[in-house]
């Protein structure tokens, strides 16, 4: 028998290092440049990948064990939800508009993140970030799938869910989120990490993920909120990865600071525009509201974000350039965007509606400086037209911002009565923008943004040529069922009928 090996006790950190970064080696049959061809072109300098601090230490056996535990619970609950008509426990079927937007615009983003992190998990020449990115890659496909599974039961009973895969690629408002993720994925691995890992997962998660999932909890949506709880610990891991990434880049070389700052400026504003969808949900679409968009911004934007950027100041990082304009826009954006969604609701695969008197009271309380002054009169006007039997629809072509892809419905900073438009010329073509920040983003990388696919012009080009009916068919929109006002919709009548079946005889 051999003498027992003299094994020194390894610390957790040392052990994890043996189980991850020690697996790699210095290649000699191929060059590092050929193995990791995309690691340098963005200009980020990394001198020592060993300086990477693992944001979490999770070996695969532990990962399988914990995740399987969560999966078991999740599917047990959504099975019970389906079996027991859980959809009738929601506050009101108006709530489903928020879910429809989520499935059409956000869940595809989870898949894109999966793909992007798989790429980052291959392209970084350091094992530490590679392993962390790979774990996020597999988590993100989990999120895409569990979201689809959580909402699949709603699709069996309600409109607007059935064509999410088609609408992801074709309908106009999803291109706001799609272009965001396409933008991140077409960037290099470092910018991708600032875009998704840092800006999206760290700075904006609390303004996107939390409101949607809290909205689900407040409105009795057992299925979606179960997804939310199940994904919470994954999200926490993703946040620590995003933060470690930015710190690592900033610490490696001072020359990285201005590059990172530019990305923060860009991705904060890109993300803030995507949040336009969330703001309408929080202020208008939830029958039982969690908090106003303004309140959410105060907590998760001003306070948390403020603390974060104070912390990053020691590296020479300042808050994103659009920060102050964003803070001001928060009092307007949900109203401006919801008015736009309402007037174009013939072209949305979710319902909108005119806020009730009670809703307007709430809005006026939450937005004392802006709602009564600027937005109540417009809703009152729309309401009057509706009562007169001439509902307000805008069949005109909305100008879309070349960068963020939202219709240019937002107002000038400091002047809520003037619409904000910017234009720039590039190689003889004119491009439209919703704001200075979107225009600046374009000017940094015009060759990228001139490629943007704009869904509105597509309606007026061959083969649709402005034929609205053909367009609806092309985006798989069932006219009269998926779109339009909630009042009188199938969703409304079915929900009332079914609910009555389960509560009376």
């Amino acid at each position: 028998m051999d003498t027992p090996v003299n094994k020194k006790k390894l610390s957790l950190k040392e052990k994890y290092s043996y189980l991850t970064r020690d697996l790699a080696w210095e290649p000699s049959y191929q060059s590092k440049e050929d193995l990791f061809p995309y690691a340098t072109y963005e200009g980020i300098k990394v001198h020592d990948w060993e300086k990477w601090e693992d944001p979490f230490r999770l070996t695969m056996d532990a990962y399988w064990k914990y995740q399987a535990e969560k999966e078991r619970k999740f599917y047990a609950i959504i099975d019970a939800f389906a079996q027991n008509n859980g959809h009738l426990k929601i506050t009101d079927a108006r709530y489903l508009s928020a879910l429809k937007i989520f499935l059409q615009a956000i869940s595809p983003g989870e898949y894109a993140a999966h793909k992007g992190f798989a790429r980052a998990g291959r392209e970084f020449p350091g094992v530490g970030p590679q392993v962390a990115c790979q774990m996020q890659a597999i988590d993100e496909i989990r999120h895409a799938q569990t979201q689809i599974h959580a909402m699949s039961n709603y699709n069996k009973f309600y409109s607007g869910f059935h064509a999410f895969a088609d609408q992801r690629d074709r309908i106009w408002y999803t291109s706001v989120a799609r272009s965001f993720f396409d933008d991140a994925m077409s960037a290099g691995p470092f910018e991708f990490m600032i875009a998704i890992g840092f800006s999206f997962e760290y700075v904006l998660t609390n303004l996107l993920f939390v409101p949607f999932m809290s909205g689900a909890a407040y409105n009795g949506d057992m299925s979606t909120v179960t997804f939310g709880f199940s994904a919470q610990s994954d999200e926490a891991r993703h946040m620590t990865l995003g933060l470690e990434c930015i710190k690592f880049m900033l610490e490696q070389d001072p020359a990285n600071v201005p590059i990172v700052q530019k990305w923060i400026d860009k991705w904060f504003w890109r993300g803030f525009r995507v949040l336009g969808l969330v703001s309408t949900m929080m202020d208008y679409m939830l029958p039982k509201r969690v908090m106003s968009w303004r309140e959410a911004w105060n907590i998760y934007g001003e306070e948390n974000g403020g603390a974060l950027f104070n912390d990053l100041a020691r590296y020479g990082i300042r808050p994103p350039k659009g920060w102050a304009d964003a803070g001001e826009a928060v009092d307007h954006m949900s109203h401006q965007f919801m008015l736009a969604l309402y007037q174009w609701n013939f072209g949305t695969a979710f319902h909108t509606w005119i806020p009730s008197d009670e809703d307007m009271e709430w809005l006026s309380k939450k937005y004392p400086d802006t709602f009564d002054k600027y937005y109540r009169p417009r809703w009152e006007h729309i309401k009057k037209m509706d009562e007169a039997g001439t509902p307000f629809n805008n069949f005109g072509l909305a100008k879309l911002c070349q960068t963020c892809q939202l219709p240019t419905v937002f107002t000038e900073p400091g002047d809520p009565s003037t619409l904000c438009h910017r234009e720039t010329e590039y190689k003889g073509e004119t491009y439209q923008f919703c704001s200075d920040h979107c225009c600046d983003i374009f000017n940094e990388e015009p060759e990228k943004y001139i490629q943007a696919w704009l869904p509105m012009p597509a309606l007026f080009q061959d083969p649709l040529n402005g034929d609205l009916e053909a367009w609806m068919k092309w985006v798989s929109l069932e006219n009269g069922s998926d779109n339009g006002d909630y009042q009188g919709s199938h969703d409304q009548t079915s929900f009332q009928k079914w609910r009555a079946m389960t509560t009376s005889n």
Partner: protein, 330 residues
């Protein structure tokens, strides 16, 4: 005996999502179908990658393999995240029990000295090969086309990482950190291992996702796992008193048996798509299996002295017979 609970039954207005109804007919879809088909953006992609403007963001033309529909390459195991993690979680429970069994009885210290030495020399350098496999599968997932083909590659990449971690734990258990250092030195410098390392590095610069899939998952794993784990560990070492080692590599043996159903399934569909595909696959498999065999021979030789050529060529024959059944004309 049967009891029937009564529930309020509401007739669904629709059975499934449009894209699934188009593929599978208007009937309820499985969770594998819901979570896998068409969830990748398919048209109106916004920008070309700045890292390679010749590519599309999702680009089927990165490969010489051509498919009319990449969603034909489905996973016969029907793994989506949930079924995958549940399967692996059961396997890791077994592995935990196996490690605990060996450690509680001190079986690692009862192994004959030279057998332990042999096991360490064979298994520990392979943790690096498994990391190479992880890199390759991350690439196939990242740049391959169509979710049903690429999602199992992500699972496979994580499996490769898990395997490299089990191999590291075996090294630590049998020989401490010195064993890992020794194993890395072997991987880097021992002449018997250099062809394998070269194989791995050479596959890591390929950017055709399907060729990487073939060179790594079909060919290298298709030869390495039966030779190393079935022949050398489970048969040879076990017969010399190394059953404990075989307990510690049980995951790898079972994993290979399970995952070759997937790899051969994919191969079969890709080959049946067109004679051109079948030809490209044959070319890749011939090229890489020649190299894999010559990379594995010297490694087998460090474990056994006799019948080395015979053992390897038997495994090669078995491999070629398995491939022949997929319709690839070798």
């Amino acid at each position: 005996m049967q009891i029937d609970l009564r529930t309020v039954s509401i007739e669904p207005v629709r059975k499934t999502f449009d894209h699934l109804a188009r593929r599978f007919g208007d009937k309820p879809a499985s969770r594998y179908q819901e979570g896998s088909y068409d969830i990748q953006a398919a048209e109106n992609l916004h920008y070309r990658p700045t890292w390679d403007p010749d590519q599309e963001l999702y680009d089927p033309n990165l490969s010489r393999i051509r498919m009319k529909d990449w969603y034909d390459l489905k996973d016969p195991r029907q793994f989506y995240y949930s079924t995958y993690t549940l399967a692996r979680s059961r396997q890791q429970e077994n592995m935990e029990a196996n490690f605990a069994f060996v450690e509680a009885r001190g079986l690692q210290d009862m192994l004959p000295v030279d057998l332990k030495e042999t096991a360490l020399n064979l298994l520990v350098p392979l943790r690096h090969a498994a990391w190479g496999a992880n890199q390759n599968n991350a690439l196939v997932c990242g740049y391959g086309f169509g979710v049903v083909f690429t999602q199992p590659c992500m699972y496979h990449a994580m499996d490769n990482l898990g395997i490299s971690q089990y191999l590291s734990r075996i090294g630590l258990l049998l020989g401490g950190t010195e064993a890992l250092e020794q194993g890395k030195d072997t991987w880097m410098n021992d002449s018997a291992w250099q062809s394998l390392r070269r194989y791995v590095e050479d596959t890591m610069v390929i950017r055709d996702p399907f060729e990487v899939f073939v060179a790594q998952n079909v060919v290298l794993d298709g030869l390495l796992y039966p030779i190393v784990y079935e022949r050398l560990v489970d048969t040879y070492l076990a017969s010399q008193g190394g059953q404990a080692v075989a307990m510690l590599t049980q995951f790898m043996t079972n994993w290979f048996t399970e995952s070759k159903k997937w790899t051969t399934g994919v191969l079969k569909v890709a080959a049946a798509e067109s004679p051109e595909n079948a030809q490209v696959l044959a070319e890749w498999i011939n090229l890489w299996s020649d190299r894999a065999v010559s990379a594995l021979l010297p490694i087998v030789n460090t474990v056994v002295d006799e019948r080395v050529d015979e053992m390897v060529s038997e495994e090669l024959d078995a491999f070629r017979a398995r491939i022949a059944k997929t319709g690839v004309p070798l």
